[in-house]
């Protein structure tokens, strides 16, 4: 019970209560009417929706070819290409915005095309991984059977392949839509007044204009849309799910026909360029100025001054220190709470499942909503916690805990019950059996979970935008501020900081990917053994 107790209290105090406050703030006929009646609001809802739809469709179209190539063919650099797309996907949103700012010509900066482009490259991995996972299992002989019946390659794709990968496509579309509908960091860096999402508008009205009630109405409205999409995608998934016997993978083949030998390197090459270009542009921009190459962006990182005596109030090194400290605490909170919660969920029945679902909520409701709720809740004595050092790490931990729980729980559940039973028959008390059998399996998933938590905390921008105070800026906040100012030195510094953040995030996630593979492989072995 204690295992469930601590995470539950944390969830109630830092998520549920702020969330209820948000609803109370929003449920007010007058402010609802005023908010929705404004022309500005309607145009923002419209923009948010259409850019999300356009981003989602573009991502699906662009992602299909690399998904096919990676799922079906063996070629030099296949694993690298897959890792590369994952690395891009895990970049903090602000870094992705910065990368596109660096990549695009000035004429496209701060336009909707830049935003959609960033969304597409960002989310390619979702399509490649989700759709590819099904495509890998689709027997090539099923397509061969269709072509022996007279179906041309196009008809095979339309009549056989597409219907069979559609559940995965639907799932990928839902995920990409949710990400792009709630786009915040990318738009804060890349957007302009005409290209604001609801998420950005919530932040603007709440923190810049002081219209807390209107911001709350918009936050709830967005939540309604998110819930509707989530319900739709799970219904669609159920309707389209068919008993596709998931065969052992048909191993990827080397391209054989002349057409394949031409198409595969082309698709793989173009995909790699699309993924690398923004990162390369970021690095190049961090060492260039209008007058040529320069290292001043990097050498000047330890100073907030742009000229002797002139201070713009953004201190890169201080931001780095803040970020590392915040990430350390957020990781500690998330690992402890997530670890306890996993043990509790695994041990308890229904209460465990409720807690499991509850802990997922902060991820589903968007970080901005989490930050906003906390902002308006913890501003009154005796809960006036907004100035405390721990409120930002707690906000990050709320978002990171589900990732710790997911990794830990999957390993916990794969630990065979028979092992504990065997230990018991050898004379071990339940506690002893648990300590000997279960605990040794916990370290690796907890390490993976904490690396994920650290990566999430370092890049977190949504909640931090509401919670961080002047002087307490984290890296993403500092990057957004630097890139938002004019002056090439400030911009160069912003790019340099983005490179640092990108490198650290990618390194952390690569470690997770390696270790995660080991855990995954062990789980598969376990399954095979049971069959």
């Amino acid at each position: 019970m204690a295992l469930i107790g601590a995470p539950t209290i944390g969830l109630l105090l830092f998520y549920v209560w702020p969330f209820v406050n948000l609803i109370v703030e929003a449920v007010d006929i007058e402010s609802t009417r005023e908010t929705l009646g404004r022309e500005r609001t309607r145009s923002i809802i419209w923009f948010t929706t259409w850019q999300a739809v356009a981003s989602t469709l573009s991502t699906l179209v662009v992602g299909l070819a690399p998904a096919w190539v990676i799922a079906r063919f063996e070629f030099t650099g296949r694993r690298f290409l897959s890792s590369l797309l994952t690395a891009v996907f895990v970049l903090p949103t602000v870094v992705m915005g910065a990368a596109f700012l660096a990549l695009l010509p000035d004429s496209l900066d701060r336009t909707v095309w830049g935003v959609i482009g960033a969304h597409v490259v960002f989310n390619l991995a979702v399509v490649v991984r989700t759709v590819g996972a099904v495509w890998e299992h689709l027997p090539t002989d099923m397509e061969a059977a269709a072509s022996t019946l007279g179906a041309s390659p196009f008809v095979v794709f339309k009549e056989i392949t597409l219907p069979l990968i559609r559940p995965a496509l639907t799932a990928a579309a839902a995920i990409v839509f949710l990400f792009t509908f709630t786009s915040f960091g990318v738009i804060r860096v890349l957007g302009a007044p005409g290209t604001r999402t609801i998420e950005v508008e919530v932040w603007r009205r709440a923190t810049q204009l002081g219209q807390v009630d209107q911001a709350a109405v918009l936050a709830l409205l967005q939540l309604g849309v998110l819930a509707a999409v989530a319900v739709w995608s799970s219904v669609a998934a159920r309707r389209h799910s068919r008993a596709l016997e998931l065969r052992p993978l048909s191993r990827p083949q080397r391209p054989r026909t002349k057409a394949e030998r031409r198409a595969i390197p082309l698709i793989a090459g173009v995909t790699a360029v699309v993924a690398v270009a923004p990162l390369a542009a970021l690095v190049i921009s961090s060492v260039s100025s209008p007058t040529g190459w320069t290292l001043s962006g990097w050498t000047g990182l330890d100073s907030a001054e742009i000229r002797p005596g002139i201070n713009v109030g953004v201190d890169p090194v201080a931001a780095l220190t803040n970020s590392v400290q915040t990430a350390a605490w957020a990781t500690a909170f998330a690992t402890i709470i997530g670890g306890l919660a996993s043990l509790g969920i695994a041990a308890a029945g229904r209460a465990g499942r409720v807690l499991d679902a509850g802990l997922m909520l902060p991820v589903g409701t968007s970080a901005v909503t989490v930050g906003f709720g906390m902002l308006i809740t913890f501003d009154r004595s005796p809960f006036d916690w907004r100035a405390t050092w721990w409120i930002v790490p707690v906000g990050h931990a709320l978002v990171a805990v589900p990732f710790v729980v997911r990794t830990t729980l999957s390993v916990l559940r794969s630990v065979d019950n028979d092992l504990s039973a065997a230990a018991a028959t050898l004379g071990a008390s339940p506690t002893r059996a648990w300590r000997e059998v279960v605990v040794p399996h916990l370290w690796r998933p907890l390490a993976v979970g904490s690396a994920l938590a650290a990566a999430i905390s370092l890049g977190e921008f949504g909640a931090t935008s509401f919670l961080s105070r002047s002087g307490g800026e984290t890296l993403p906040i500092a990057i957004e501020q630097l890139l938002g100012r004019t002056g090439s030195l400030l911009q160069t510094k912003g790019y340099a900081l983005s490179v640092v953040l990108a490198a650290v995030t990618i390194a952390l996630v690569m470690v997770v990917d390696r270790t995660g593979d080991v855990a995954g492989a062990r789980r598969r072995e376990g399954n095979d053994g049971r069959r």
Binding site: A144, A146, T148, L149
Partner: protein, 215 residues
């Protein structure tokens, strides 16, 4: 449709540098049922796939009815194929599986309906049309696969280990049914198997792959 003679001449195929077929030649006369015997991994399936156009050969040529089809894609070769694991389309009903080839051949709806029903009846599955193929038993699925291939009456039918992996009783039953089906239709049939008794029961002529290799 009448059967067509099939000639695979001096076919060589290698996968990732490992030779699988070395200058293999095979002839099947129009309407003949030929069984191709060989150990697993000997490349007999690969030879079938070369004839169907599913695997591109490194050397050699394939003619069907006297026409060189080496450069013709699978869907225009008019070669039907039955796979060991059937490869029924899981998102289509039994009926929709059987009519698939007819639909692509441009047969109108009414005729598709009668023809598909006819072939289902012929393989002993009358009334199975609306069923989901994922709910069929092993023997039923095999019969649907046969009906789907034969429904378009292809001049050439290729069968890749069609009866492997079925239990003994069902296997023996299907040998009898398949024998009737293959000899009733005019199609040329090439059957790949590793089971000598099955080959002898079904085929007019039995070949061993290792005897087909060139010098």
């Amino acid at each position: 449709m009448a059967g067509a003679d099939v000639a695979a001449e001096n076919i060589s195929v290698g996968f990732d540098g490992t030779p699988v077929l070395r200058s293999v030649s095979l002839l099947a006369a129009s309407g003949e049922v030929v069984a191709l015997l060989g150990a697993s991994g000997s490349g007999k399936s690969t030879l079938l796939r070369v004839i169907a156009g599913l695997v591109t050969q490194d050397a050699g040529r394939v003619t069907i009815g006297g026409r060189d089809v080496t450069a013709v894609p699978t869907h225009r070769r008019k070669v039907g194929m039955v796979f060991q694991d059937n490869q029924l389309f899981p998102h289509r009903t039994t009926f929709e599986n059987v009519e698939f080839g007819l639909k692509l051949a441009g047969v109108d709806r009414a005729r598709r309906r009668t023809q598909a029903a006819h072939w289902l009846e012929r393989v002993g599955l009358e009334g199975f049309g609306p069923r989901r193929v994922t709910e069929l038993s092993g023997g039923e699925a095999k019969r649907v696969a046969l009906a789907r291939t034969l429904a378009v009456e292809p001049p050439v039918v290729l069968l890749d280990e069609p009866l492997t992996g079925l239990d003994r009783e069902l296997h023996d039953q299907l040998v009898i049914e398949l024998d009737e089906l293959l000899h009733e239709t005019a199609s040329t049939a090439i059957l790949v198997t590793h089971d000598v008794a099955e080959a002898n029961a079904l085929a007019d002529r039995t070949l061993r792959l290792d005897e087909l290799h060139g010098p």
